[in-house]
Symmetry: C2
Subunit: 183 residues, 2 copies
């Protein structure tokens, strides 16, 4: 089991339990690694594990969300690709978003800046796509924020209602809502 697999398993725990709810015992169980092994791989302990998870998420995000958005294809197509990747990453909405989770408690103090930058990068890139098709900067920014709002809100709703439809519907409607003609 390589480091990527370990980090993915740790990420799963953080996403289920939040930062404070995640204990080394849970991580040990999820990875099959003993405490000492965990400290061998992450000398700075829990905080470094969370940082590794955030870095992994950031990398995934760059490759599967940001890159497709600035890649080739029509704007609608690029946004649809983003949606497909989101749906996979968040398991149709069943898995929480680290960025939302880490805005709470101690983790907010530790990772606020990083979370802020990652969300802003997403919004900026989305807005850039909208400006490509002639939407003024200010409205593009608002629509991009709305899209991220809808994704984040849908994640909350899915977990609370035990139904994935709200997330699937939200993702499916992203291209329409983002690209509809300005009123």
């Amino acid at each position: 089991m390589d480091r990527t697999e370990v980090v993915q398993r740790i990420a799963k725990v953080f996403r289920q339990c939040g930062y404070e709810g995640t204990t080394l015992s849970l991580i040990s169980e999820a990875t099959g690694l003993g405490r000492a092994s965990l400290y061998h791989h992450f000398p700075n302990g829990k905080q470094e594990m969370a940082e590794a998870v955030l870095e992994y998420a950031g990398q995934w995000f760059g490759e599967n969300i940001l890159a497709p958005l600035q890649g080739e294809g029509t704007p609608a197509g690029r946004i649809a690709v983003m949606g497909a990747h989101l749906s996979q990453f968040y398991d149709c909405g069943r898995s929480a978003c680290l960025l939302a989770i880490f805005t709470l408690g101690e983790s907010d103090l530790l990772f606020h800046k990083r979370v802020n930058q990652m969300l802003n990068a997403w919004i900026d890139r989305l807005a850039a796509v909208l400006m490509e098709i002639g939407i003024p900067a200010k409205q593009a920014r608002q629509r991009a924020e709305d899209a991220v709002i809808q994704v984040q809100g849908a994640l909350v709703l899915v977990r609370a209602l035990d139904r994935t439809e709200p997330f699937e519907r939200t993702v499916q409607q992203l291209p329409i809502r983002l690209l509809e003609p300005i009123a």
Copy 2:
């Protein structure tokens, strides 16, 4: 300081730190009550405090959100009243929602059913308003879910970006988005 004031202060801690991140030390500090006093008022400890907070939130919610929605006035007016109360309750988006927080970790196991019911009650009531003005049941339900999604997502964005505008804009547009003619 009466019980309501105590519960409100405890709620503030839970909303900032989440369930697992909230410790009796933090609660003691926030309320000015010692550990023993806290256990006098809440014999079942932390879990009972969280239950009291949820019950308080449910009561506030019934009076300030659900009641206005089924009260008098135009649908647009009632939704606007809801928005004003939301904005107050969530401090323009700066304070997290307990229902979103309690979908994580141990608190999800403890409170899932309650959270589920409270969110569903909100959605049901919103949908009822939309059906009043002739929107078909299925679409009314979807729009109601969308509204809750937008509120929850905006709360995440405000905390992550340190800007209240996304929440304020979201709340302001709720009446328009909910009541716009069906396409």
